[in-house]
Amino acid sequence: MSGFVAGLSLEPLSFFLMVLAAGILAGALGSLLGIGGGLIIIPTLTLFAGVDLRYAMGASLVSVIATSSGAAATYVRDRMVNLRLAMFLELATTTGAVVGALLAGLLPVALLSLILGLVLAHASWSTLRSRGDETPPSRTGSPLAARLRLQGSYFDPALGRQVEYQVTRIPQGLAVMWGAGLMSGLLGIGSGLFKVIAMDRLMRAPLKASTTTSNFMIGVTAAASAGTYFARGDINPFIAAPVALGVLAGTVIGTRLLRRMRSRFIHRVLLVVLVIVAAQMIRSGIAGLLGGGPP
């Protein structure tokens, strides 16, 4: 399936600048939501720029690593990230990512896009029903979480005070994290949305701790599958370069915005992006299964 831009035989420079601009937008949104922006950049590259899906997924992986590392450097310095929670859950995301990267060649991507779209549709529904509270709804954690010392605290500039929190439902959180890692390896995404859902919805960590810790974890998850993608020749320098540079510039913008915003606004942005992405994934999944889409 060739894209509109390739059809217009655009010069390489124009292509480069357009992908750079798309990367900036994806990076800004990605760091605001605690996702790598891969879910935004892959459809943009394949549908509007005529890029092969394999190259789009490879470029996306590089961009999510760049996003995560760039934003996480700031979040760690500002003590927003729960380092224990991140490291514990990375056991699940990295093993999932390795399995996903190995499976990537075996399963039809269209089917996976469809499944992912449906899961995202469910995520939008549960986000719509949530209220976007500024403080954690529960102050008691599970005994397992206490034994693993997964509790945390951070300073919230919007509230002007230190927020202490506990987490709960560790086994369920680990299971969703493994699935997030699997999706990351299979589709070349950071799967930050699933990480935020696991920590925010399931484990009951506050949204800001969830988004920053997710951002921190994305890089390690993506690195666990990027090696395989790189060796396969799926990371094309001409496509990965503008994507990585654009996303990084967007991340700088997004990171600065996050600390000044209240969680309710982040929730609204998250909802809009979830709906658009879910519809996109379902549509491309069905098109692919009917034989009309990219392989």
């Binding site: 010069e11 590392s69 490291m87 190995l102 010392r149 890089g219 390690v220 690195a223 396969r232 320098p237």
Partner: protein, 141 residues
């Protein structure tokens, strides 16, 4: 949480080191990618088969590795080609630095948990490092 202040200061230092490692990796990787892009724009070449400025289709279509003129995928070959100034190889070297940054961050995190005297998390972190090492080996194998 340990409230030992000496421990706390060391842990804080390790936390800042994690932050610096991430920042340095992103800066170095980005600088290399920018250098590769500048070199590509300056010479009008990629260093490999696809030639600027009239080959956008050739630049975007998937070509399996090993085909004539394909960009390199082995780290050693990339390093050698980058040193002689091939634009694609310089960009790829930057990408490899970006990929290695989170792995290095995990390695530094071992130090953080040693400073916190938290043996359980030292083990957890080493396990994550082992999974990352395994994935890189599976990728090249």
């Amino acid at each position: 949480m340990t409230e030992d202040s000496a421990n706390g200061i060391t842990a804080r230092r390790m936390e800042l080191l994690v932050s610096y490692v991430l920042r340095a990796g992103v800066l170095l990787g980005t600088a290399l990618i920018v250098a590769g892009v500048v070199q590509m724009a300056r010479t009008g070449q990629t260093g490999y088969a696809s030639v600027l400025p009239h080959g956008l289709g050739a630049l975007l279509a998937f070509v399996p590795p090993g085909s004539p003129g394909h960009f390199p995928t082995a780290p050693g070959e990339i390093l050698r080609a980058a040193v002689v100034g091939k634009p694609y190889a310089i960009i790829e070297l930057g990408i490899l630095v970006l990929i290695a940054t989170p792995a290095l961050r995990v390695a530094v995190s071992v130090g953080f948990f040693i400073a916190e005297r938290d043996r359980f998390y030292v083990v957890i972190t080493l396990l994550v490092l082992a999974v990352l090492a395994a994935s890189f080996l599976l990728g090249t194998g």
